[in-house]
Symmetry: C2
Subunit: 185 residues, 2 copies
């Protein structure tokens, strides 16, 4: 469920209240809409692939969800190929790597090798903190550590924190250009 909190200011305008309670997906979709409308970038969420069994003209009467072989979001920003997946954890101390599905991990590794900008947006929902985890750093973490979880300290020290704003709620793209070395080989 998407909850949007707001307050009314002195001029009687409705002000969205810090986007508290919006789902991570909703925050990313709103940010992408902002990027599109302001000609900053074109990033779309890919539809979930569906296996259609019965269909008459435009109406589908039997179909099943299929597993995605890629990440959720991709697009272009100032000539850069952008590709990412969003994940949320309720943990206050670490992000369990198993939250990233095998096919998503494989895809992210391929994109990194093909010189795309590949990353994960990780939300620590209980802490209201958001981080960009570049696939390059994820691969580095897995190589160096035996741990099945990435501690919050790694995100704070090595990754890029996104500070939530009003509009766009999660301005992740503005942070990428200044940290390209964290993304590319």
């Amino acid at each position: 469920m998407i909850k949007i909190n707001f307050e009314i200011n002195k001029e009687n305008n409705i002000i969205r209240y810090q986007n508290r309670g919006m789902s991570l997906e909703q925050e990313i979709n709103e940010s992408n809409e902002y990027y599109l409308n302001n000609e900053i970038a074109i990033i779309y969420k890919k539809p979930t692939p569906i296996n259609i069994v019965k269909c008459q003209e435009n109406k589908i009467s039997e179909a099943y969800f299929e597993a995605k072989s890629t990440t959720d979001y991709n697009g272009v920003y100032q000539g850069l190929y952008i590709d990412f997946e969003a994940k949320s954890t309720q943990s206050k101390t670490s992000f369990p790597i198993k939250n990233i599905q095998n096919n998503q991990f494989l895809h992210a590794k391929r994109i990194f090798k093909a010189l795309g900008v590949s990353f994960f947006i990780i939300e620590f929902s209980k802490l209201n903190r958001y981080f960009i985890l570049p696939t390059k750093l994820l691969l580095y973490f897995i190589k160096v550590n035996k741990s099945s979880s990435i501690p919050l300290s790694f995100f704070i020290k090595e990754c890029i924190e996104i500070n939530r704003k009003i509009n766009p709620p999660l301005d992740y793209l503005s942070l990428i250009k200044d940290h390209l070395d964290l993304f590319l080989m």
Copy 2:
């Protein structure tokens, strides 16, 4: 319908016969699979978005196709953002621009402005000829000409012809790097 013609050679191996009769979509999908398996590029066809009305667990019992707001294919090749749509015409003399839907045209223009590599693959099916039409050239053609169709001569003179091969059937990516000026601003 997809028809695949083949012949059996002296060693009793089945040899696909020049891919004759394969649909354009099938040829592109096979090429993309080749690129993926050979670590050349990661290009996927986006699933058609579907509006789900009734759904229980994994089974969808009522849904409708939605209009796409983007082109069919996108991905990454040597750091370049690749974005295109495939169109086939039965005409032997020209390609009708109205075959490109408004939302696809708008999307292609946006990608071009965002420094992505945006183009259309046009098949003249009766002639067995395939061309890459860069969005940059399409915009140029529309600006300069009042015509509602792009003549074959424009494709031959200004665009990039793809010669069909066995594997990958349509090696469109190898032609892009040498003609980047036709795609980028």
